[in-house]
């Protein structure tokens, strides 16, 4: 169970561009939470997360995004999930997270 993350801060647009690939579940979610929190701590800016390479995610992974969404919202920033695969899109839809995260 692995994932990979690529984080780039675009200073001109004041925005994070994050690309996630792999699978996210309880075994690796804490590491991802730390990576995203560190990025936001470095530059408190909006975050676009390309998840086209995520083949599996469950409530633990979604919980991280929800947590970050709440934290960013408090400081006036947004996180967007881009290009989810059909199975991930289904999960976002049934939890209604698509309305705020996509």
């Amino acid at each position: 169970m692995t994932y990979a993350i690529k984080k780039d801060y675009d200073s001109q647009r004041d925005k994070w561009l994050v690309v996630l690939t792999g699978e996210i579940d309880i075994s690796n979610a804490a590491g991802l939470k730390q990576e995203l929190s560190d990025a936001y701590g470095e530059h408190a800016a909006d975050m676009d997360v390309d998840i086209s390479g995520i083949s599996y995610i469950d409530s633990t992974g979604l919980g991280i995004i929800i947590s970050l969404y709440g934290k960013m919202r408090e400081s006036g920033n947004k996180i967007k999930l881009l290009n989810p695969r059909d199975n991930v899109k289904k999960l976002l839809k049934i939890t209604q997270l698509d309305k705020v995260l996509c």
């Binding site: 599996y56 409530s59 929800i66 199975n87 289904k90 049934i94």
Partner: protein
């Protein structure tokens, strides 16, 4: 179990209560469901649902990593049933508040997802008596 169709094959897994083995459970469920003739979408649903049950046990049963819990798939003629059970501390399943539709929350999301993805789902638990997640997916005509 949840009742219904005639049952035949049982596939059981006893695993340590550790996060790194949840993917092993997914592999087993995926393999059995594929063998039973489910389509990719249904298999993905079952993988997520069983992972949510395992995650709930790891997070809330208060079992340690040396303890074990059990997963059993029952392949029936028109359905697949999945049982995930532990001997942990249990919880008040009846008095537990449901996740509100449209309200963004991390808490309770797992059980909400299980119920949304599976055709049948029950969570049976009492404080001090362990927890049992029972779920079923129907094999629809044309899938097999």
């Amino acid at each position: 179990m949840l009742g219904g169709a005639e049952m035949n094959d049982h596939i059981k897994l006893v695993i340590p209560c550790k996060p790194e083995y949840v993917s092993t459970v997914r592999l087993m469920v995926s393999s059995v469901a594929s063998r039973a003739g489910f389509n990719i979408e249904a298999i993905e649903d079952m993988k997520v649902a069983v992972s949510e049950a395992c995650t709930n046990i790891i997070n809330h049963s208060k079992l340690c990593g040396e303890d074990e819990y059990r997963v059993m798939c029952t392949r029936g003629t028109d359905r697949m049933e999945i049982l995930v059970e532990d001997d942990g501390v249990g919880f008040d399943a009846v008095g537990r508040p449901e996740v509100e539709q449209g309200k963004i929350s991390e808490s309770g999301l797992g059980i909400f997802i299980i119920k949304a993805l599976m055709d049948e789902a029950e969570v049976l638990s009492e404080e001090g008596c362990g927890t049992r997640f029972l779920m079923a997916k129907y094999l629809t005509v044309g899938e097999e």
